[in-house]
Symmetry: C2
Subunit: 319 residues, 2 copies
Amino acid sequence: MSTAQPPRRYAILGTGALGGYYGARLAHAGVEVHFLARSDVGHIQRHGLKVESIEGDFSIDRPHVHEDPADMPAVDVAAVCIKATHNHLLAKLLGPLLGPDTTVLVLQNGLEVDRDAAAVAGDDRVVGGLCFLCSNKVGPGHIRHLDYGHMTLGEYDPGRAPCGISGRLRRIGTDFERAGITVELSEDLYLARWKKLAWNIPFNGLSVLLDATTDRLMAEPPTRELARLLMPEVAAGAAACGRHIEHAFLDRLLDYTARMKPYRTSMKLDHDHHRPMEVEAIFGQPVRIAAEHGSPLPRIDTLYRQLQYLNAATTTPQP
Amino acid sequence: MSTAQPPRRYAILGTGALGGYYGARLAHAGVEVHFLARSDVGHIQRHGLKVESIEGDFSIDRPHVHEDPADMPAVDVAAVCIKATHNHLLAKLLGPLLGPDTTVLVLQNGLEVDRDAAAVAGDDRVVGGLCFLCSNKVGPGHIRHLDYGHMTLGEYDPGRAPCGISGRLRRIGTDFERAGITVELSEDLYLARWKKLAWNIPFNGLSVLLDATTDRLMAEPPTRELARLLMPEVAAGAAACGRHIEHAFLDRLLDYTARMKPYRTSMKLDHDHHRPMEVEAIFGQPVRIAAEHGSPLPRIDTLYRQLQYLNAATTTPQP
């Protein structure tokens, strides 16, 4: 673990497969990172954070880890890494972290998730990020990084307009790049979110509904073809919102998935552990927004309703 | 059990939930019925057929039951009650039963199933039937009749044309009515098959994909609504083939399902027992035929591909 003077101070809200990985990368690069954890806070305090990574294992022996956001300092960047199903907690979680210049970085999947953070922190504070990461939390304070890790960042606009590349976006990008993460800065967060859905909708959805890892879905012709048919519906939804996703991009997503290591998606893991799935952010919002713009997405809507049923049938009430 | 002289001779090919029920009803009414059974042939020879029914329990103590179709006599009516997934066996099963005037009654779900029987027995011999029956086979020679039992019969035409009500159709209808079954004679078997699909497609499909009984699917708003959205796609497929299904009929189907006792569909039972599901007859054929007529059925196609995946992933090779 580096002991260099940290250039900036980050908070990681949610030390799971995603927040644990990126936060540990930042801390390993010398950034001052404050983790908010729940069940494993004591374990992390005693044993640190351990990352098994295809790029080399490492650990953070004495991370700043907190159970209560009220104990955390104000930060330069507060990264929202909890599930979107818990966004009703954002006011409580973000409040103590907000200084005059704090940026809230929403690293969640789906549409309209930035809006939840903006409602708490203000529209001007929010930037969004999409993570192309295969990682799992395999035990207390223990992250397994399986593949990829690329991040796309963009400025949030409440009117969903593209808003170019800001200075703060560049600085956050530089922080992650110094930590070994490849970063793309997007002028159009809303387009980036739709593009990410072109992966999440087929593979999160079908992995849950068919109890399958990504490699199995790609290996069987009916599901490979179904993924190929769902993706243009995502593009149609984006087009209804004035965003163009190229067909070649969808082909690259399929190639990328075919080359990926066998992966249990985060939605599949949530379902397996009887946790609520991010069905509204990833399926409900795109279906509703596309419908508002006159574009029905019948295949996606079919998966959406199936997943709603499973969410209702298998989850326990949320806290 | 009645000992009256049987008016006609029937064969029941497949003594499962459906064949066992209708065959036992016919035998109970005095018809000479020859059952073809597989795993439980010895049990039925020794202990007979037992039917627990909401309309009153009864049993057939000494049924004619055969393991090999070659041992069966020629019959007036050979009722095909095996799964459509086993239609490659029809030549072997039907051959010994065909006399000069034998009618083959295809009591299977889906489209193009009559064609399989016609390929063996000849177009002119085939009539089709749709069964609105909730029954399960709960043990060897043991049928549990849960609800309904109505049957719709129609003449098969290889060109899919309506062909009116024939004399032999009336005679078969009368045989079943005497056995206590309500029978509707349809001038248009192809329309009747599409109408039956308006139930089978949503409820067989979703019961498997969501591990749910029909009452659960009707109780949860997302799946009740999805069923309501799948039904008009079936009607669109029928319309592409020149058949009109009224919206009021679809509403009645939903009402009927809401009033039905909690039911594990036959496709769900097949899946639970790792048997191949009738995915092609019930989903693949309608999707392909509608597409040939210029009507894509995206919601049904989405279920179809999911079910194909499950069929490939969970069934053992067929004999």
